[in-house]
């Protein structure tokens, strides 16, 4: 069984008594009696990062993927708990490098470590396993939900799509890029930018939001499913970086390449739905947060995700998106 089934079939019933758990269909939980948004994401060597990735960057990414969940809720980060399972042969220098990355991003995002647990594992083959629980204060308008979208809502995404996936492919030498493009795209893979200012600015404007971690197609599917609707995306509207556009132009099958960019994970942009009557508010929120935002489609009655080509015909997309990196 895959991880979606594990969560939906087995764990979700266990959250039935907690309204703030949203049936485990959201990025974060609300503790009803208090005012904290909490989220917990794991990162495991060989699954979410390359075993040779520098550990300071791994640490910063670990915080940022959790911060990205808070960003989608519009929450203001406060602090986190950290769990680490280190291999038995870990060197002090490695852990210090890891901690230096934490320190750097704690300062950048004004968050603090609150506690946690540390284990050193003796077994051969046990991968470095990292777990963060991040706490944030919800916006005064209330945390933006994943499932609040309405039919005919516009769909928007921040920044650019597909960069991190291209960066990962370049790091694994699966594609060849110019040195400059490789550095820029690898940077987007190693160090995502959680869209905290934008998330806060669209609170009360967006009906629904999700951070794009599994890939635009997959996460549009999650937002649409949670809202009981269908997501219709226009391929021509997808925001691409110059580097991604350069790669796309070198590909023979443009539609297929575009679908691939929309299928990659690790973007950590925010995808959100807002009523078309609020287009001016969205554009003011983008401006106020100094974050580029692009209208890429709409929610419709129905289910699933469609990526429409310039001719209005659907471009085939892979089913599951970025399936080896699954979160709620």
């Amino acid at each position: 069984m895959n991880e979606f089934e594990i969560i939906h079939d087995i764990f979700a019933p266990l959250s039935a008594q907690a309204p703030g758990a949203f049936d485990l269909k959201d990025d974060a939980a609300l503790l009803e009696e208090s005012a904290y948004v909490v989220t917990k994401d794991l990162m495991v060597a060989g699954v979410h990062f390359l075993p040779r990735d520098p550990l300071d960057l791994v640490a910063r990414k670990l915080l940022r993927v959790n911060l990205s969940d808070l960003a989608a809720k519009g929450a203001k980060p406060v602090g986190y708990l950290l769990g680490c399972v280190w291999p038995a042969n870990v060197k002090r220098e490695a852990i210090e490098l890891f901690a230096s990355g934490l320190k750097e991003d704690q300062a950048a995002f004004r968050i603090s470590l609150f506690g946690g647990d540390t284990v050193v594992h003796g077994a051969k083959g046990a991968p470095l396993t990292l777990s963060v629980t991040m706490f944030g204060a919800p916006p005064k308008q209330g945390a933006t939900r994943r499932g609040g979208g309405a039919a005919r809502d516009d769909l928007y995404v921040s920044g650019a799509i597909g960069d991190a996936g291209l960066g990962l492919m370049a790091l694994k030498k699966e594609i060849k890029l110019t040195t400059v493009d490789k550095a820029s795209l690898a940077g987007r893979y190693h160090l995502p930018e959680p869209r905290l200012s934008l998330g806060a600015a669209i609170a009360g404007v967006a009906n629904a939001a999700i951070d794009v971690s599994d890939g635009l197609i997959a996460d549009a599917g999650h937002l649409a499913a949670a809202s009981g609707l269908k997501a219709e995306l226009e391929a021509a509207a997808l925001p691409l970086s110059n580097a991604a556009r350069g790669w796309l132009e070198g590909e023979d099958d443009g539609d297929k390449a575009l679908a691939a960019l929309a299928g990659f994970g690790d973007d950590y942009e925010i995808l959100f739905a807002a009523p078309s009557s609020l287009r001016r508010s969205v554009s003011m929120a983008a401006k106020a947060s100094r974050t580029s935002v692009t209208r890429i489609g709409a929610l419709k009655r129905g289910s699933g995700v469609t990526l429409l080509g310039a001719d209005g015909a659907p471009i085939p997309v892979a089913d599951a998106g970025f399936n080896h990196f699954v979160r709620r």
Copy 2:
């Protein structure tokens, strides 16, 4: 470097801006702006449980070791976040068995799952890794701290000491016990009893408390160190179950065997310090919570831990206690 050093040297400085993190010297963190006590403990196959342990019991122990941290604070459990890294060949039945254990103890302790993260790991040798962040409401008297002990405070411990360690040794066939004793002690290893009622009842009475996870000697050391004092324990006073007493009587060196019992981990009893003027309050708290409590020593000026024999001479104890299972 060992895990104490990792935490003290590398991670503790990262918590400097958070008063509620207590320099990472406590079992749980307080989020200052709200009223929640949170704790996070990992359990990894081969470290904290035997790879063949039934997964429903593993699940219940996972919740209970976290609940035990809340018990030491006097907090009332509310809910938890769950992170799991499953091996790639995990069967649905195994995860369902795990979830059934969660469900059973959620009902028993009136807690709910709030969210989390699930990963399936493809690498050979990746052990089942489990992480829980548990939330509780602090008692109205304020959460009991680890470092609040005063010189001349009495030291108390709940229940009985060493059972879980004997149970583990019996499960690993390192010692031979009667069938009845083995079942009872293995049960204490697999299914600790978090002392939540007692923890709540001693809030405002105890100056300091800690749950005994690393072993009585080690955790008395932690409480004493956090309080800037020395713990003096009387061997003859240590509470033992009938099964443990039976094992002890079969050992040639009684002092050594007693020191071993006091060194085992996984008891999940509460060790606490209270002024001798409050002995009546302690005994009322024990009665109200229907939990046996034994006075086993006192805090003194100085540092470290001493286990005194019946003749008043110290019994040698191992330095580090139960060192392959380290938490704060």
